[in-house]
């Protein structure tokens, strides 16, 4: 309801759509190409490393599955934050924004632990083709998550200071679009990088 009335209040554009939202979707479409190139590179060099460590020697599927679940649940809390501000519930907005940022931070902490474990096992950016492509792909994803956490915490602090109004729900929606994108990218990475290697580990 509030979303529809806020849309009515926005200034007319040539498309009838908010330009900021259009720009965000154009950015996400182009970011697909960025991650697509990194995933393609990973797949091209998959199984081409001449020295170890190999994926089946370092991957821990149950551990990464928990990380994937955490990021998936952060998408739920993010959309609940948007639903809260759309119905004018600023307290709910703060709670769900903080929950999303915390879940994102847990994911990043998990990735940091995973990376350091891999490095202790001898896998670095320079050790082989697997290390180079794996760390580049997952590292850039982690960078996206980090940016997302910073954005969410910024909105949380602004909300605490009373600087986020219900009629500004589009700002939260744009942050949410970025966050969900980060989640869908991980859905792809979790499958094509981790799960396809699982039979070699078991």
């Amino acid at each position: 309801m509030a979303a529809a009335s806020a849309h009515a209040a926005q200034s007319e554009t040539t498309t009838g759509l908010d330009h900021r939202k259009l720009l965000m979707w154009a950015f996400l479409g182009s970011d697909c190409l960025f991650f697509g190139s990194l995933v393609s590179t990973y797949l091209l060099y998959r199984g081409k490393s001449v020295v170890g460590p190999y994926p089946y020697e370092v991957f821990n599927i149950p551990y990464t599955s928990v990380s994937a679940f955490v990021l998936l649940m952060s998408s739920l809390t993010m959309v609940l934050a948007l639903a809260a501000i759309q119905r004018g519930d600023l307290r709910g907005l703060k709670v769900w924004l903080l929950a999303t940022a915390l879940l994102g931070a847990v994911f990043l902490g998990g990735q940091y632990f995973e990376f350091t474990t891999f490095v202790h096992n001898g896998l670095t950016l320079r050790s082989n083709l697997f290390g180079s492509t794996f760390f580049t792909l997952t590292g850039f994803h982690g960078l996206h998550v980090t940016v997302g956490v910073i954005i969410l915490l910024s909105f949380f602090v602004m909300a605490l200071r009373g600087k986020v109004k219900p009629e500004q729900h589009l700002n939260i929606e744009l942050a949410g679009l970025y966050w969900h994108f980060v989640d869908v990218v991980w859905i792809v990475i979790f499958t094509v990088v981790y799960l396809v290697e699982a039979p070699n580990i078991v």
């Binding site: 979707w25 998936l72 649940m73």
Partner: protein, 101 residues
């Protein structure tokens, strides 16, 4: 006056529906992990994982990113990027003869 944006945008789902979608996504994730540890499914593992992954991707995009309820122009921008990415991936795989190895 009804704007084009209003005509394109339908009401978003309720919080209860968002939670229901999260439950479905969680179950799919459990199935994904279960499938990789099931010996009998190894020959069909890749297609099963791709279908499950694509289902999760589509559900998040449609319901959490609201593509199902928003303007089709947003869908075109996003799906266009995905299709272009897929085309590049297939082209690179073919160029480097990954499909024929």
């Amino acid at each position: 006056m009804i704007t084009t944006a209003q005509q394109h945008q339908r009401a978003h789902p309720s919080p209860a529906r968002y939670v229901a979608i999260a439950l479905i996504l969680s179950v799919i994730t459990l199935v994904e992990v279960g499938v990789v540890y099931t010996d009998g499914l190894r020959s069909a593992l890749l297609p099963i994982l791709l279908v499950l992954s694509a289902t999760k991707f589509a559900m998040v995009a449609m319901f959490y990113m609201h593509l199902r309820f928003d303007s089709r122009l947003f869908s075109a921008l996003f799906v266009g990027g995905i299709l272009l990415t897929s085309a590049i991936l297939v082209a690179l795989m073919s160029l480097f003869r990954v499909f024929f190895a």
